[in-house]
Amino acid sequence: MKAPVSWLRELVSLPVTDAEMADSFTRAGLTVERVETTGPDVTGPLVIGRVLSLVEEPQKNGKTIRYCRVDVGGHNDEATDEYPASRGIVCGALNFDEGDLVVVALPGAVLPGDFAIAARKTYGHISDGMICAEDEIGLGDDHDGILVIDPTTGATPGDDALDALWSSDTVFDMEVTTDLGYCLSLRGLAREAAIAARVPFSDPYDRSMPSPTSGGYPVELESDRCTSFVALTIEGFDPDAPTPSWMSQRLLASGVRSISLPVDVTNYVMLESGQPLHAYDAAQLQGPIRVRLASAGEQLRTLDGTVRTCTADDLLITDDSGAIGLAGVMGGEDTEVTSSTTAIVLEAAHFDAASVSRTFRRHGLPSEASKRFERTVDPRVPYAAARRAAELLIAHGGGELRAEETVVGSVPERHRINLRTGLVAAILGAPIEASDTVRILEASGCQVTAMGDSLTVCAPSWRPDLHDPYDVVEEVGRKYGYDRIGLRIPVPPVGGGLTRTQRGRRAVMSAVAAAGFTEVLSLPFIAETELDKLHLTADDPRRSLVRLANPLSDTHPYLRTSLLPGLFAAVAKNTSRSLGDLALFEHGTVFHATDGGAVPHPDVTDRPSDEDLAGIEAALPAQPETLAALVCGDWVAAGWHGDAVEADWTHVVAFAETAASAVGLQLARRNTEVMPWHPGRCAELSVNGQVLGFAGELHPEVIREFGLPERTCAVEFTLGALLAAAPGGGSIRALSSFPLAKEDVALIVDEAVAAADVEAALREGAGELLEEISLFDVYRGDQVGKGKKSLAFALRFRADRTLKDAEAATARQAAVAVAADRYGAVQRA
């Protein structure tokens, strides 16, 4: 809302500076976001001049220029033998005569568009300034010729031209919250300013709606979404009457374009009163005005020339010809006032806020009117606003107001609120006396009755937002001043700190970051083609997509079921910026569609039933917390220490193991074949038999289709399940100080046998004495035969006594026996 300060000051006499006024608005919740100054963007000397003489000088190029001597008062050069006191200016326009008053930009002036004026030599003269056209000084669009000033304005040479032509004003651009619809009016803002400055305010629109009467233009209300309608008729209006400049300038300062006197007056009164009005050309109306709901498909051409197709939820203004306006949103083209309109029907009506809101959103047609109706307009003001508009029209456009008026509908009863007097101080946490409360509320226009320890507050017609006791508390609070409330820190009961899951999540995130992975965030929207490029099969659970009804981009209408496409996009972003050695991870939610159906909408007047709450949970899709990582390029770049270490599958598996060990878990791994991974280089990751995800090198086809660097590796798993599986407690064994017995064993197995399985077999067979086992060599070659490999393990035994050589050897044999039995492992000679 743009509020010209001169207008506010006209409505209320304020003993404060503009800055104080702005500050008090902001403190009252009407944040002044910008303070603007109206008027052309001109600096330096721009003055009134009188053309003393002019000499036309035809030029070789066919143009004729005029060398003028212009009297610019105090800015004149001294008189010479040749010329009286004046300045010499060359001008190319021909639409002015000797003796005319013009606007002169003198050297040093800077006109809009950073156009600096300087004295310059041209056409054989020194041109010591510029005689201006309207558009050159930003006063209007007119470039038909030089701006010649009406001598009756009293302007004299040397006067500041802006002062003479333009009343500069300060304008507050304010944020008006949706509850304060009445502050979308100058009278509402003036009232707030008066309250803040503690001066009385007299509302020029404080005028009751008269009793219903139908003497004027016939109006019928056929929908309860229109509760009142005032129609006044003006006849004998001069369609050529111009808008007075003070009015068009105020409109312009308020961000409203001047169009014609009737339209300007309705806008002016709307800005001042908050009541949107509409002016119809009475000659175009056919039969009575009826306010009714549209029938589906009914059409209307609105003022902006667009044909609107209505739904049965749109409220229309109609006459016998059909729809003539979208109620509270925009009028129709056929009945608008034109340059030949001499009889006007003024409409001031009250429409249902929600209905207007739905209609303007449905038609994408926000207007000054709909903005106000949506926030609720004072239901008592239509008549006062219509009368004020009629008076302005007649004052500036002649004609007369027909004595017969139409007033239909009614003004609703004012709302009463009962509250405990102590509630105000209790909720605001400030020592506010009952008398303060009453004083503040009365200044806001409320009628307050105190009875015992309770107050009955009757809100003014323009404050429908005052509905509940807490609304009253807020009204008192905002006027009392939030900064006068003290500071207190409430003491909670003993808290439990972060939960195990929350601590576990932080441990995982810190551990993988410390291990060299950089966290990135991406938008959670994906395209189905991305799943195709991942080569997911038709029955892959990652194809159970949740679709958005209104996606931000039609190409990405689904919620992600995998974090990998987002990581791939991050790779592209980085490689496009020559950052090719990457170790990225993302933590986030993925979404798997479930056939949940509609969500219950329990009543909000009490706690929902447990069934309803369970029903809501059941209807929501699965949203597992997921962690994914990706490596490509070099893990360690080549450098002073030696060769590069290329990023490979071990780094993404290590990522998963780092995450697991951060919460005390060890992952089990086995080879598997799952897209988008390389069929020979994909590990299934599990904990306690529960599969959490997969890690490995990506499939070359996937790498190619996503344009990823060769051999890119990735891991993705359900972090939520990992955190849930994290063990608590744990125990610490007594540390044996007896000597260690070391036994090495090399086993030949088939290529397909997993090292982890052999290790598990050895561990199982070795029994209690085994302290540690580690794989230290994998050998393939002639000595073990084709299709075979040799796995060499170091076994370390220890007990609570010194082990005899034979004991360790026996344990080793037992270990080998299990591996031999289970996997056909043969000890290498």
Binding site: G516, F517, T518, E519, S522, A549, L579, V604, L620, G639
Partner: protein, 369 residues
């Protein structure tokens, strides 16, 4: 008297002659002294103090001396060998020290070489800051509550007193799941978590809820359709605006040092009274206001930075959760984490937050804390 018996009587032994022994010692000491390395010294030891050295060989001859002469000769060679061994040992210590010095000099490396060869990881600034923000409240005894990102309309709007026709519910503002009439959406705020906390937890309740939120918003330098919020909620007996002001002031000081907050009246459906909370500029502390010579880019010379929204929990919200508003009252507040990173750490473009350039995530490292 009989003459000397060649086989029985001791003969004078040339090698044990004092002068000869002294000569051996001199030769040995000279060899030791001239040894320049441990290896040379080892050679000198072998030659002059070893089993086959002249002194060792001379020592063996002692038995050939007459008994009366043996003692003197033994003492002489023993002393001589002692002197030589002592010299060797001293020289050995000396050489070892020299050689250690040399070795240490030789082993010098350039200690400024880069050593973190594995990639350097980092948490995203949002994650780091969100954890820090939560910790301020956890330290006060509050708990951290979480909830789903894809939420029911009832939690996101109905229970929060957002009217059925409220424009925030429109397709222009909220990302709805298809079909919209099923009442599922991407949460537009973390407030549904507050409703869940009110329904699930016991009173009194002190929770913060951090998380991702979604709006059908532009994607440009200052808007993201997906961003992060931190909200706080207290419901207890006797809670007032003073508790809210005190809590926000404490939070601001914990995050930004010596700053104040101010509240400007505002409007939200879920709080009444409502306010926006502004943070005193932590860089200029207001000194840039009306001072064009020292502009402040953090607060754009306004002295205050819009930080978030807050207010007293609307009793309608408490009622929807089955809480008696006559007994309990509460306050709630919320702020954007992305925006906080933006003004706290001078991030120029919100798109950098979600495009994955590793330099963005690494730009704060531990410094986000």
């Amino acid at each position: 008297m009989s003459g000397p018996h060649d086989n029985v009587d001791p003969q004078p032994v040339a090698a044990l002659d004092p002068e000869v022994v002294a000569g051996y010692v001199d030769a040995a000491l000279a060899a030791v002294a001239s040894s320049r390395t441990t290896a040379e010294l080892k050679q000198a030891r072998l030659e002059h103090a070893g089993d086959r050295s002249p002194l060792a060989l001379a020592n063996r001859e002692i038995g050939a001396l007459p008994p009366a002469a043996r003692k003197e000769a033994g003492a002489r060679t023993g002393k001589a060998r002692g002197r030589v061994n002592q010299a060797i040992s001293a020289r050995a210590t000396e050489l070892a020290a020299q050689e250690l010095q040399q070795a240490l000099r030789d082993e010098r490396v350039d200690m400024t070489l880069p050593v973190r060869l594995a990639p350097q990881g980092a948490l995203h600034p949002i994650t780091a800051l969100m954890d820090d923000m939560c910790d301020v409240f956890v330290a006060m005894g509050w708990e951290v509550a979480e909830g789903p990102e894809l939420e029911a309309e009832w939690y996101n709007f109905d229970a929060l007193n957002v009217a059925p026709d409220h424009p925030a519910r429109a397709l222009q503002d909220t990302l709805w799941i298809d079909p919209p009439e099923h009442g599922k959406l991407l949460r537009t705020q973390t407030s549904p978590v507050q409703i869940r906390a009110l329904l699930e937890r016991d009173l009194p309740l002190y929770v913060v809820s951090p998380g991702k939120v979604f709006r059908a918003d532009e994607y440009d330098a200052t808007h993201l359709p997906v961003f992060h919020q931190l909200e706080g909620l207290v419901v207890d007996k006797g809670i007032s605006m003073a508790d809210l002001r005190g809590t926000l002031d404490h939070f601001a000081r914990a995050m930004f040092g010596d700053v104040r907050t101010r509240m400007r009246p505002h409007h939200f459906p879920f709080t009444e009274p409502s306010a926006e909370v502004d943070l005193e500029c932590f860089v200029c502390h207001g000194s840039s206001v009306g001072n064009p010579d020292a502009p402040c880019r953090t607060c754009r010379s306004e002295g205050w930075i819009e930080w978030g929204g807050c207010g007293i929990v609307n009793p309608r919200v408490l009622r929807a959760c089955g809480i008696d508003a006559a007994v309990y009252s509460g306050f709630a507040f919320g702020m954007g984490v992305d925006r906080t990173v933006m003004f706290r750490n001078n991030a120029p473009d919100l798109r950098d937050f979600v495009e994955g350039d590793i330099r963005f995530s690494r730009s704060l490292l531990g410094g986000a804390r």
